[in-house]
């Protein structure tokens, strides 16, 4: 097991290996998403309270889940990079940030679109989830701004790793304090479709969508990490061979 991980950590092996792995993420991911969309939109029964508006859940929940997954991935790989000084894990952290930001933005927009028919406003401060997604988006922007402000890549890696770890410690606290803050706001207790146990026809498409999106996210991440690794190792010989080899075909 360790030999495999060690092999994966060395950039040239990772570069070739990831090229083979990406299709294994893309194909099942797309199939699951297509199944989830069709099943979720047309075959799942409408929600007894919100009617068909609840179907936005099939997009909102995966996006919110991915925004959390991306940050956790970023913090874990930043920690590994800082402690064991593995360059590849800094590349993973650098690659995960923009993707995480995009999905957080997506979760925010779909959440507010979903809120429009129910609460009548595009933005409902009473809903703790929307507010913590917004703060999460600021965390991502802070991370990317710090990384952009430092020119030297290794220094940028280490500094942003510290920020990612400090942010990771604070995320549960932010979620807790926003929940507490919105509970003071007695009025708007929102009943969500996933309040009572969801019937299986509703649940399966949701699980398919979450898994499908995670796989697509994995493929996008690997794609980004490949170019990050190429960029970081641009001086090394294996990169020269890769570039020259692709030069002939291209």
């Amino acid at each position: 097991m360790w030999k495999f991980l060690h092999k994966l950590a060395s950039p040239p092996h990772f570069y070739d290996l990831s090229a083979k792995i990406i299709p294994w993420f893309v194909v099942p991911g797309t199939i699951l998403i297509i199944y989830g969309t069709i099943a979720g939109l047309f075959y799942a029964p409408p929600d007894y309270q919100q009617g068909d508006a609840f179907r936005i859940i099939y997009v909102h929940v995966p996006a919110a889940y991915l925004s959390m997954l991306a940050y956790t991935l970023m913090a874990v790989s930043a920690g590994i990079g800082l402690i064991w000084r593995i360059k590849l894990s800094h590349a993973v952290a650098a690659a995960a940030a923009p993707l995480g930001a995009w999905f957080t933005f997506l979760a925010l927009i779909t959440g507010s679109i979903w809120g429009r028919p129910m609460w009548g406003t595009w933005w409902e401060w009473g809903d703790p989830r929307l507010t913590s997604e917004l703060i999460m988006l600021f965390l991502y922007f802070g991370y990317m701004a710090l990384r952009a402000a430092i020119d030297d890549t290794t220094k940028a890696d280490k500094a942003s790793a510290v920020l990612a770890l400090v942010g990771a410690v604070n995320i549960p606290i932010i979620h807790f304090s926003v929940e507490w803050w919105s509970s003071l706001h007695q009025g708007a207790t929102i009943v969500r479709a996933d309040g009572p146990a969801m019937p299986t026809e509703m649940l399966f498409p949701l699980l398919a969508m979450i898994l499908g999106f995670s796989l697509v996210f994995g493929a996008l991440l690997l794609g980004r990490v490949r170019s990050e690794v190429l960029f970081r190792e641009r001086r090394s010989r294996w990169v020269k061979n890769v570039v020259l080899a692709s030069g002939e075909q291209g």
């Binding site: 047309f42 009617g51 997009v59 996008l220 794609g223």
Partner: protein, 54 residues
């Protein structure tokens, strides 16, 4: 078929959310590809520059 698309009156919201998701995923894919090409071309110019001054 038409009333299925109407989504019980919430069609506008549901389809816009799904449409937006598709757009975001496409943007991410395009970004990944463009970043990869950009790194490739940077390295190529670097290699060409190195060859000339040897």
């Amino acid at each position: 078929m038409m009333e299925a698309l109407a989504m019980g009156g919430y069609g506008g919201y549901v389809w816009s959310s799904f449409g937006l998701t598709l757009i975001v995923v496409i943007i991410c894919v395009v970004q990944v590809k463009r970043r990869h090409q950009q790194v490739f071309s940077d390295i190529k110019t670097r290699l060409r520059a190195m060859e000339t001054d040897q």
